[in-house]
């Protein structure tokens, strides 16, 4: 890996750690939420917000900005954590997650919080929205790129493949999908609920360019993959093999932590682990 890349990984690593810590604090304060799928996507989200996305600080409406659609809407705390790290929302506001009147809805709301590009959370809808944005960009001379983060369980929804088929037809080169392939969904392991394999083959057969990341929690793999896909030639899908609940041992690879908040004690243990290993 070139020196510059090593440096970039080093720059992002403490950011990822702080984002994980925020996710634990926010969900603990809220008393509900989805830690597992927020933690698994920490490196991907950090790389997007701190390395890949063209954005204008302070201006969520800049027309040329790259769009990021988090289709797995329940994972939005990791996005709020990135926005807090950027200073676009305050640390105090981050702790209002899920409270009445908060802009930080349980699932993203673009009217309340313009930093999110689309309301999602009814799984399976985000890739269609991202595709529409990418085609709009192309009509205007490729003004911006579109990145869309999907959950693995979410790709069990038929609409994802309707969108995949349409993207295979229209081939917007500025569209990049990333699948957070953490192998665990609400009711259990993905292979037991509804297996996705052969997953990469499915995307290839829909005319997508596919890159499989052996470890989607390794910034040294995530950053160059986003660089390559972000240069165009898409539609691209990055299949990122990740660990559900990554960074907190008792949350890792368990469906029980898909959608529940830690107690104060559990949060303290989680924060200690993140600080020690991050």
């Amino acid at each position: 890996m070139p020196d510059a890349a090593v440096e970039e990984v080093g720059r992002l690593r403490p950011i990822v750690r702080r984002m994980r810590e925020r996710v634990i604090r926010m969900i603990t304060a809220a008393g509900s939420g989805h830690p597992g799928g927020s933690l698994s996507a920490a490196e991907i989200t950090a790389a997007l917000f701190f390395h890949t996305l063209r954005r204008q600080p302070g201006n969520p409406h800049w027309p040329e900005r790259d769009r990021f659609v988090i289709s797995k809407g329940h994972g939005v705390p990791i996005v709020y954590a990135a926005l807090a790290e950027l200073g676009e929302i305050g640390e105090d506001e981050a702790l209002t997650l899920r409270r009445l009147g908060s802009r930080l809805q349980g699932h993203p709301d673009r009217i309340m919080l313009p930093w999110v590009e689309a309301a999602t959370g009814s799984l399976g809808q985000g890739l269609s929205i991202a595709l529409g944005m990418a085609l709009a960009s192309r009509l205007d001379g490729d003004r911006f790129r579109v990145f869309c983060l999907l959950g693995d369980g979410e790709t069990q929804a038929g609409q994802v493949w309707e969108a995949a088929m349409a993207a295979g037809k229209y081939r917007p080169r500025n569209l990049v999908a990333i699948v957070d392939y953490n192998k665990v969904q609400l009711d259990g392991p993905v292979p037991a609920i509804m297996d996705l394999e052969p997953f990469a083959d499915k995307w290839r057969s829909f005319n997508w360019r596919v890159k499989v990341l052996a470890d989607g929690n390794d910034l040294a793999q995530v950053i160059p993959a986003l660089d390559e896909a972000g240069r165009g030639g898409g539609p691209w899908v990055l299949i990122a093999n990740t660990v559900k609940g990554k960074g907190v041992s008792f949350m890792e690879e368990t469906a029980a932590w898909h959608g529940k908040a830690p107690t104060q004690d559990e949060a303290a243990r989680a924060l200690a682990e993140i600080a020690a290993h991050g």
Binding site: E117, A118, A119, Q125, G126, S128, A136, S137, E162, Y170
Partner: protein
Amino acid sequence: MAEATRVSFGRALARLGADPRIVVLDADLASSTNTKAFADRYPERFFQVGIAEGNMVGMAAGLALAGKIPFAASFACFLAGRFEQIRLSVAYNRANVKLVGTHAGVGIGEDGYSQMGLEDVALMRTLPNMIVVQPADALETEQAVECLAAHDGPAYLRVTRQKVADVSPPGYRFQLGKAVPLREGRDLTVAASGAVVGHALEAATLLAAEGIDVAVVNVSTLKPLDAATLADRGGRTGAILTVEDHGVVGGLGSAVAEALAETGIPVRRHGVRDFGESGTGAALYAKHGLDAAGIATQVRAFLGERGAARRATGTGRPA
């Protein structure tokens, strides 16, 4: 000139295409919805998504969120079937998407129930910010399409497969949210929407020959409903009969009943009370009492009941 309002829609849409923000999506029904004229003229701004309406609705939302003005068309029943995408991707995002449901009601005829939009108005009406418009003829459709393109926000337009009579007066200008009195009358107000507005006017002519004087109002904007005009007309005539080619639950009749519930003006709802079936459009309208004769029967029955009620309570004819 009688014309199917889907044809009027297609013509207006092709004309609107001069605006580069207008994009159109269709799900393998472009020849039926009449988006084909736009597709032929502006192929780079037309997206044929195949038989995948859920994705079509989502793509339209994405195009809108990036500044385009998408019209996404399909049969009314198929759009209603993608309510979950419409609810979140379009309505909750306040995406500037124009959904166009063609083949409204039993009037489509032979294809039968699976192709008939009979629940679409009921569903669309429940969504905050969603405008719902059902024009009655060619002139009104063309103006409504222009008006919805200029309106910033989600909207649903409902048009017919079959030809409908011209009902709008010369020089008519469609106004979003305004009900349109088409005929004055003393005995009862018939509030109708879409294809059956023409039938209601015919019914009024039949009834006039019997000495029954019926007012007719075209409720082309179903949401937001022009409650003021309806309360005014209903108050003047004492009661309102609603007439629609849509399920009788959740459509025009429900909207009027909800709006007038506190006014004390009696409302009788007339619409489709069962699944549809195959047959000619005319035969189905006759079966469901939505042709001129059927509407006249409803008017006589309603007036008869009200007369009996007045005699029983000793109250006089309303002023």
